[in-house]
Symmetry: C2
Subunit: 285 residues, 2 copies
């Protein structure tokens, strides 16, 4: 049996009781370690589980999945995923491959950032499609996400923006020379995301958002030191929210009063918040 | 401290390790028991936790929240919520009330149907806003949900439809006579939802969906006996999916091939699935 086990969002104790039982009795345990991270390292997980954990990088999952699945028709293999196994990054390809090999799969769900973002007090009912924001470079500033956010904005819905992480990436030079030297991990901050959004709007000029548009920044959702900040994109482009992971929600026009009351609690500046709320026509349907 | 603890979707072992620690040491433990249910009863939870649990009905939460919060500035109170505390039903009002009383809150996230529905293989990125479906009566068939689904359909996004549950409801007669007699609980099925959707389309006639539109029915997401079925609304209106809880996803036009491969695994009928996929223009962007 292949078990896909969600680990939740913050630390080793966010696994479910059922998930922990699976991890303890599985023959091999893999940790998917390239699309999201827990706020604790592998050693801490291993100590908590009382057993070794094999780190699965992108290469292993995408091209070596048959190694992961070896013997899984006879023994239990656990594949651990930060958040939910079918959350922001889906592992349907692994399940489909298992099925081709005649191996059954089971999923142990857990909190995903796609639902955990409800901690902002914004109602999940009022979210449109989710988008991802990649790190811009001097020469590569993809704006396809802008079109999707535009669709949400036109309806008046909130947009969850998931922020890029770079783990075990090679520099172009090292890649060209075939050197397996990896860059230090990088995690996009709320401030970087807000700044890139303002960049894109300046380039596209379709008025989907502006410096006064309201948004909520969320850091370390579900952890003891979770931090939420509400403010304009201009304000958020200068906010400091501490260690990863960060996410951002662009507020939709249909926001309710109860949502307003909730996020105003953690406004950077209540005066600019109120002014931007009024100016932006939030709270209308 | 007020702890809002997510219980996840299926049974007592879906609580997280962190959540279980909170439940074991809290002074009082309430179970929110009117917007969703676990697939096990309160007695099983109490046995697993090794302590009593107080059932909190809608009345207690909405008008008696100060009883729940009594002394929570000095002792720990746990408020258990099926799914995630900020998932389909948000408990932001309880948190705001606690704050007014000077009581701190913490949330222990867990799987919500809003992310758990990823078990269908449909990518959460491709979902638009979520809607709720209530039980229609002879004289009351609200169709406001139709307008919101229409917005998703026009963009080509999937729509998660959450299905009504009726727990501890009085009949009009008993209510009028002030008799505290409650009707047996009712849980909407995938078949009832699909039939009501076809009703609404017949009434509204805007072609948002039809008998051949593809959808996925999901029952008991996250449980051992989870069941998924893909088919046309016509087919789903006759499908039998067993005990609650059920949900339905109306497929969006932007569905990818990987999503198609995944849901086709549990098609009612592969031939009608393929024909409807082609006829409906699914897979286009």
């Amino acid at each position: 049996m292949l078990y896909l086990v969600g680990l939740g969002l913050a630390d080793e104790r966010d696994i479910t009781v059922r998930g922990l039982e699976v991890v303890k009795k599985a023959e091999r345990v893999y940790l998917e370690a390239y699309t999201a991270i827990l706020l604790v390292d592998k050693a801490k997980l291993e100590a908590f589980y009382g057993r070794p954990v094999i780190e699965a990088d992108r290469e292993l999952v995408e091209t070596g999945s048959d190694d992961i699945l070896a013997d899984a028709d006879k023994v239990d293999v656990a594949f651990l995923v930060v958040g939910d196994p079918f959350g922001a990054t889906t592992h349907t390809d692994l399940v489909l491959r298992a099925r081709e090999l005649g191996i059954e799969s089971k999923v142990i769900p857990n909190a995903s950032i796609m639902s955990g973002i409800g901690c902002t007090g914004l109602q999940l009912y009022n979210f449109g499609q989710t988008v991802s924001m990649v790190f811009f470079t001097e020469t590569w500033k993809p704006s396809s996400y802008y079109d999707r956010v535009k669709e949400n904005v036109q309806i008046g819905l909130h947009t969850l923006v998931l922020l890029d992480i770079k783990v075990k990436e090679q520099s172009l030079e090292n890649m060209a020379r075939g050197r397996l030297i990896y860059e230090p991990p990088r995690f996009m901050t709320v401030a970087q995301c807000a700044a890139q959004m303002l960049d894109t709007e300046e380039e596209r000029q379709e008025g989907v958002w502006g410096p006064d548009s309201l948004a909520v920044g969320a850091a370390r959702v579900g952890a003891e030191d979770q931090k939420l900040v509400a403010g304009t994109l201009q304000e958020l482009s200068q906010v400091e929210m501490g260690p990863p992971l960060h996410s951002l929600v662009l507020l939709g026009r249909r926001a309710h009063d109860l949502e307003k009351d909730y996020i105003r609690q953690f406004a950077v500046n209540e005066a600019t918040f109120d002014a931007s709320w009024k100016k932006g026509g939030y709270g209308s349907s």
